[in-house]
Amino acid sequence: MFIGNIKLIAPALYLCAAALVVLILGVIAARKPGKGLDYQLPTQYLAPALMFPGVVYALWAVLESLIEVCYTVDVLIGYELVRVPAVALFVTRGGHAQLTADPFGALFTLVAFAGTFIVMLVSLDYFDAAQPHKAEYYSLVMFATAAASLAACASDLIAIYLSIELLSLASYVLACFVKTDRRSGEAGLKYFLYGAACSAVGLYGMSILFGVTGGHTSLSAIARGLTTPAAYSGAAWVGIVFTLVGFGFKLALVPFQFWAPDVYQGAPTPITAFLSVVSKAAGLAVLVRFLTAAVFLFPPQNFSWYWILVVLTAGSMFFGNLVAIPQRNIKRMLAYSSIAQIGYLMIGVVSAVHAFPSLERLVPRLWNLPNVIVRTRAASWYYEPWDMVGLVVYIVAYMFMNLGAFAVVAGIGTRTRSDAIDDYAGLMQRSPFLAAALTVFLISLAGVPPTAGFVGKFLIFGGAIQHAGQNHPELAVLAVLGIINSIISAYYYLNVVRLMFFAPAEDRPSLRASLALNAVVAICLVGTLGLIAAAGPVVDFASLVVSGFLD
């Protein structure tokens, strides 16, 4: 086995180590709360402090992988000399990598890290200093993030399964972390039962895929295996569909969304934010990787999982947005809203599938590599905007706006002890900054300019329209449905805005936000509003990332 360029996944490794540090120091500190180590090095500050270098490291890793993806290396595995991309890690015989730390994965790592950093700041505000088990809490969050990072790079069934499970197991615990809260416990139980069942189904699917493609676990090998006649078996399809269940659960894609509302509502708000962004980003990365591997076999013209995805995309948007309308709890509303948001993202995924329309186009990039020199440029900067750029930009935008919204919700929830939408009435008077910021986030979620959400939707719908023009009318339909859903969503987002701004000011005390909360909201605001101004560099960067996408 060729271990490869380990520094590309170093952020995850660093995070695991940092998590251990936090855990150990935190546990020691917890023995004397408020004194000694807990006083000098409080865990709730230590964790973000250790997280921040992680974010920087992840950013560096993105840049590094952008360079590395240009090269291949010839390695000797067993008695075999194979040429693999320089971003491939843990390469086994036949040149199959367990992890592919390509820029795409690195970027999702960055999203996960940045999201986690923001979530930690929210937690800082959400939990008071006397929070029990904070060492466990923060280390679990960090482990989960490391898992998400690995999942974003995983290109092997085992790696996928392990990283996703690690993420899930940490999330189960985090969801029910407030042990005294019945709702939190209930959320944890449901999340666990449903998640475990779904991952079991997914695993079963993977086992079938493993079998029908000739005993391979690597996605690239599976992709090759699926090109053989064997893969035309019904079993292969069952395998793919079952596997999709596992990913669909992570994404809360309809009809695997049942857990989301309950868990979002019951879990502590920072964890809800974490689940809605970090966990989803990981699921999305895995899904995209998996689909682009499977796409070789099933040209979308035929009736296949592609059409299932199209239907589920539309279903997610409609279900999420429609059910969000009557909600009275803002966390639950945002849960449904994030189901809908996944629908928009899935439009990006579905059209990204067409970025790899044929084996012929991709194969030269992967296998017909020149074999003269040892280190050589592999991926040419092939320039095709729109393809998956929208997906990448949208996930970044989604991180800012959704985390921002949850940050405000968390901040208000701790102060008013309520998550009811009705209690947001007159918020503009009580806390103008939070109300204005939440307005921006909600408007961004609705996709109205000049916000990041608009840029994301614009690019996603643009990609869909582009492929619609290439004889894929279903994408035009999806774009239209997406548009309709944007309008529906505007209704319930604006309902909150309406309450905050239009409702008369009652004699309720104004809310005082902590520094951490203000900082988080400000970061998210800058991200949400700044993305459109910086759209040029962002899109360029995203196209670089996308063009380095390998599977």
């Binding site: 408007i443 643009g462 309902n495 309406r498 701004f501 759209a535 899109v539 360029d540």
Partner: protein, 511 residues
């Protein structure tokens, strides 16, 4: 750098600077907030006057070129630029926007509730509106288009009448339906092979798209794109079946909000007709012009009829907007028709449409201010409550009569020139449509006169015996509007020459 190329961004973003300044003034200091906002809004006004003066009528017109153009790459990889520029179509609109905003801000000095938010939102709105008229890149255009939507939502929702929340959300969602359809159509145009062929790259540059005539070869897609854009613009105008947000929004909006809504926001729709539909999809427009013409005709007659049935003064003016905007769209429809004959009369029609845009902005804006004046004094807008105010408030009566007559198309004011031109152009295309539109003229006159009668004439209602006449602030808010309506009505040559250059360019596309 050439200062001329920076004038448009400066005009557009000065109000945004004002927003920031106002945000830093404590909310308790109402007067400084108001004065600062007003002063800030004077800058774009002054610059827009300069712009119009410096604008060269003989210079290039869209889509051949623009004046005061600026073009900075924004998202180069997607072909998105920060592109601005003006031609004869937009220069008067920039001026109108700046003027109406200033006057609205002046009029809004009476706002007592949450003035800080009000004034910065108003300035933000100005940026959005100005941006729409000067943008030459579709992404920029769309961003400004939507930016103008949000503050208006708040203006209606916070400072509006009793049913403000309903009106605000209806306004927002309804227009969002249109803008989203428009977004899809814009994307489709972007990806058209014609644009790619012409520009060498997919681009959102409006000039490039207009020159390329996207989907000229593919009637089906062209039709889809056309109707998508049409929906976006028609809702904004609003054209006949899409107009019902308008009365609600107008009635509930604060006075200055109504002024801006009628004066500028509706114009964004017709501007879209002229700037986008007619130049970029001329063949499709020529194919479907009759549908637009019929809808416009319905708007003219039907808008007038419905206006006549109103008892709420403000709603009546709102419906009269439907009627008036019908002339604009009719003029556009005729000017873009596929008839090969009568280029001259098409130009007349488009001149008329533009004139009506300008005229309606002046006169209906003034009428909304007049409604606001009476509402603040009497706290009612029911026409049946009034009567005989002509004796109590002679200055007000004079101004209301003036604007009403202007609005019903009395010769000597801008409205007449507009209606005459549109009807002349229409006559050439279809005498029947022109004949039916003439009915609208009579009904418009009927309801306007009836309104004047119900408010001003007759015996004085003792309730209003002591209403004060219009004060200096109100007169100053109204005087420029009325003066311009009169001056441009008597001596239209200058403004029409500006319009004419743009009309020639647009009509010339088909010929």
């Amino acid at each position: 750098m050439d200062p001329n190329s920076w004038i448009l961004p400066i005009i557009t973003f000065i109000p945004l600077v004002g927003v920031v300044i106002v945000m830093f003034i404590p909310k308790e200091k109402a007067t400084p907030i108001k004065v600062v906002s007003l002063v800030v809004s004077l800058i774009p006004l002054a610059l827009s006057v300069w712009l119009w003066a410096a604008y060269d009528r003989g210079g290039p017109q869209f889509p051949e070129g623009v004046q005061f153009g600026v073009r900075v790459p924004w998202i180069p990889s997607l072909g998105v630029n920060f592109a601005m520029g003006v031609d004869g179509l937009s220069v008067p609109l920039v001026f109108l926007t700046a003027l109406l905003t200033t006057l609205s801000l002046l009029y809004s000095f009476i706002i007592a509730e949450r003035p800080k938010e009000y004034f910065w939102m108003f300035l933000l709105l100005e940026t959005g509106m100005l941006g729409v008229f000067v943008s030459l890149d579709f992404v920029l255009f769309f961003v400004f288009w939507e930016v103008s939507l949000v503050p208006m939502y708040f203006l209606i929702g916070i400072w509006g009448g009793p049913r403000r929340e309903y009106a605000a959300i209806k306004f927002f969602l309804y227009t969002m339906v249109g803008s989203m359809a428009m977004l899809l159509a814009i994307l489709a145009m972007y990806f058209s092979p014609e644009v790619l062929r012409l520009a060498g790259q997919h681009t959102f540059d409006m000039i490039a798209i207009a020159k390329a005539h996207p989907y000229a070869a593919n009637a089906t897609i062209a039709a889809l794109v056309f109707w998508g854009l049409f929906l976006g613009f028609a809702i904004k105008v609003p054209m006949f079946p899409f107009h019902t947000w308008l009365p609600d929004a107008h009635v509930e909006a604060p006075t200055a909000g109504s002024v801006i809504l009628a004066g500028i926001l509706l114009k964004m729709g017709t501007y879209g007709f002229m700037r986008v539909l007619m130049t970029m999809l001329p063949q499709t427009f020529a194919h479907y012009w009759w549908i637009i013409a019929i809808l416009s005709l319905i708007a003219i007659v039907y808008g007038a009829l419905v206006a006549m049935a109103q008892w709420d003064f403000k709603k009546l003016i709102a419906y009269s907007s439907v009627n008036h905007m019908g002339y604009v769209t009719l003029g556009c429809a005729v000017a873009g028709s596929g008839l090969l004959a009568g280029e001259q009369s098409k130009i007349i029609a488009l001149n008329g449409a533009q004139m009506q845009v300008f005229s309606h902005g002046l006169l209906t804006g003034a009428l909304f201010i007049l409604v606001g004046i009476i509402y603040e004094r009497a706290h009612t807008r029911m026409l049946s409550d009034f009567g005989g105010l002509g004796a109590v408030m002679p200055i007000y009566a004079g101004m209301l009569s003036f604007c009403s007559f202007g609005s019903l198309g009395l010769p000597g004011m801008t409205g007449f020139i507009a209606e005459l031109s549109v009807l002349t152009g229409t006559y050439n295309a279809s005498p029947l449509v022109a004949g039916l539109a003439l009915i609208g003229i009579v009904v418009t006159a009927a309801f306007m006169l009836w309104t004047v009668q119900r408010v001003l004439l007759g015996p004085v209602n003792p309730r209003w015996q002591n209403l004060p006449d219009a004060d200096a602030r109100e007169i100053i808010s109204l005087a420029p509007l009325m003066a311009l309506a009169l001056i441009f009505g008597i001596v239209p040559s200058h403004i029409l020459a500006t319009f004419n250059a743009a009309s020639q360019a647009i009509v010339g596309i088909l010929h």
